[in-house]
């Protein structure tokens, strides 16, 4: 009996454990530490239409119990992904591949979604709406409900693949945004992306990151992630992919109980490259010890009605 078997947005997964976009390259980078096919799904680095060099200067800063990154979506572009990377991973990664897609305008999102549509290996799309919307004065797509709804709708119209909309936590009301992307056809929501933060080099009297600001991730953000997942999972009917600081089996259980149907591991893998395996084994053990036939039974267990 596989107690971890999970169906998420129509995909049959061995388990509810995925990788967080941007923390697992394109799937093979950690293969010396564990077999990526042990994962429920592999979410790859955020892609854009054109290749991007990302931000200049220092891009990583450690913070207490967390880290900041300002890689700025460095990626080889959708062409390279389609023509080179999918070939490199072909046969080597049999777990479903999910691409994380990004644009500067709704048109760019639509364009890249169309490109992904024809890539067989890709089983679902994670729509990252945390990026600044250049047409909207640089405020993130995910910051305004109408805009979040519009981009979701536009992408849904051009793809048959399930669309998981990845929400930014840097908002006053994440529930409102989750609801509107649900209304506009999202198959699931993923949360949380990074919290906007910064760090200062007191010797140089300058921000540590070349880009000044960066995204905060890791254990430090866990309580915020759990709160948002708990709120959103009660407000929408679509499933939630939970992430933000998971670094142990107990953390994973907390996220499931908060209402995440599946989880993504990011910074936790940097801290411990075999974390996905440890969580997989830990969840199995938890099910056996607690007489649980399937891990999905604990999803949302901490909700008030349970």
């Amino acid at each position: 009996m596989n107690r971890l078997k999970t169906n998420f947005v129509g995909l049959d997964l061995k388990n509810p454990i995925m990788t967080a976009s941007g923390c697992f390259g394109f799937g093979l980078e950690y293969k010396d530490y564990f077999d990526p096919n042990e994962l429920g799904a592999v979410v790859v680095k955020g892609l854009t239409l054109e290749p991007r060099d990302g931000n200049s200067g220092t891009r990583i800063a450690e913070t207490p119990g967390g880290m900041l990154n300002s890689v700025g979506l460095e990626n080889p572009g959708i062409d390279h992904f389609e023509n080179v990377i999918t070939k490199e991973i072909d046969g080597k990664i049999t777990s479903p591949i999910i691409t994380n897609i990004n644009g500067r305008t709704i048109e760019e999102y639509v364009e890249i979604a169309k490109r992904v549509e024809s890539i067989e290996a890709v089983k679902a799309i994670e729509l990252n709406i945390s990026c600044p919307n250049v047409k909207d004065g640089g405020m993130a797509f995910g910051a305004r409900p109408e805009v979040a709804g519009a981009v979701t709708k536009a992408v849904k119209e051009v793809t048959t693949k399930p669309v998981i909309v990845k929400l930014s936590p840097n908002v006053t009301d994440i529930v409102a945004i989750a609801k509107i992307v649900e209304e506009n056809g999202a198959d699931a929501v993923a949360l949380i992306n990074t919290l906007l933060g910064m760090s200062i080099d007191i010797k140089k009297k300058k921000p540590v990151l070349g880009n000044i600001f960066g995204g905060l991730s890791g254990p430090a953000v866990k309580p915020v992630a759990l709160r948002m997942i708990y709120q959103v999972s009660q407000a929408v009917k679509i499933p939630v992919l939970g992430m933000g600081g998971i670094s142990s089996v107990n953390d994973a259980i907390e996220f499931l109980m908060a209402g995440a149907s599946a989880i993504s591991l990011g910074t936790g893998i940097f801290m411990n490259p075999i974390l996905p395996l440890e969580i997989k084994e830990g969840l199995e053990k938890y099910c056996i010890e607690n007489n649980i036939d399937n891990i999905s039974e604990i999803v949302g267990a901490a909700h008030p009605n349970k």
Partner: protein
């Protein structure tokens, strides 16, 4: 690449803020190559990222690795408290090290301060089949004391210090130019402050010598999964943790010098 729990067998101060740590770690000691590094996990969980530390020396027979480190911030400060017998988690060996597949060459090794850390094992890996000359440069006598730990006759090492407390009063490039006025070399390996390496690379290029340099960047994953350590090179974006830390100088030096994409090494 793998994870291994090594056991500390020595961890001592080498003067000033410099420390030598010896670790028993069977797989790691055997797998290590010159110029590669390990990410060492801090015990204090408030520091979540591994600290990249070069392989100073690897004793394959005795399954022992040496790390030579300088106290910079809280992480390396924490290292100094580790006791003999304590375990440390090593992730590695990581990255692309120096080209050590040379034979019958005249090799010049130019180290500056802590940049000399990876060069000990480089020298060990090439000295039997090649002729090696070492320049050990630094601020003062303390900064070059690391050379005492090399398995290399001290009198054959060319020292250069800014304050003249040992060897030539001057920097690595001064020493290099002096050597080049007398001798020819086939290849230069260098590690140290970024400005020094750039200057060394320029001199090497003027003399039509191949030059390998070893870079530093802040790292999160160490395995090219996060692109945090990416830098712009003449061959496009490269990850210091995997494509480097050792690069051919020509692909690095003079890349868009106005953009601060080179190296985080602020020394």
């Amino acid at each position: 690449m793998f994870l291994e729990d090594g056991v500390i067998i020595e961890n001592k101060n080498m003067g000033d803020n410099y420390y030598l740590m010896k670790v028993k770690a069977v797989k790691s000691a055997v797998a290590a190559k010159a110029g590669q590094f390990y990410m060492i996990k801090c015990h204090n969980g408030i520091r979540i990222l591994g600290r990249p530390i070069s392989i100073h020396y690897a004793d394959q027979e005795n399954h022992m690795l040496e790390f030579y480190y300088e106290v910079i911030g809280e992480g390396t400060k924490e290292f100094t408290n580790y006791k003999i017998g304590e375990e440390i988690r090593l992730q590695g060996p990581l990255g692309t090290g120096f080209d050590t597949e040379l034979k019958g060459k005249k090799i010049l090794v130019v180290g500056g301060g802590m940049g000399m850390a990876p060069l000990k094992y480089l020298v060990e890996s090439v000295k039997n089949k090649n002729t090696v000359t070492i320049i050990a440069a630094g601020r003062d006598v303390g900064a070059v004391r690391i050379a005492d730990n090399y398995h290399f006759p001290k009198e054959d090492i060319v020292f250069a210090t800014d304050d003249g407390t040992v060897g030539l009063k001057g920097n690595a490039v001064d020493a290099m130019k002096e050597l080049l006025s007398k001798e020819k070399y086939d290849i230069v390996y260098t590690c140290g402050p970024h400005k020094m390496m750039e200057a060394v690379a320029r001199v090497a290029s003027e003399h039509n010598m191949r030059c390998q340099i070893s870079l530093e960047e802040k790292m999160a994953c160490g395995v090219k999964a996060c692109v945090g350590c990416s830098i712009k090179t003449k061959e496009g974006m490269k990850r210091v943790c995997a494509d480097g830390p050792v690069f051919e100088a020509e692909v690095i030096v003079d890349v868009n010098p106005k953009e601060n994409t080179g190296c985080s090494c602020g020394k």
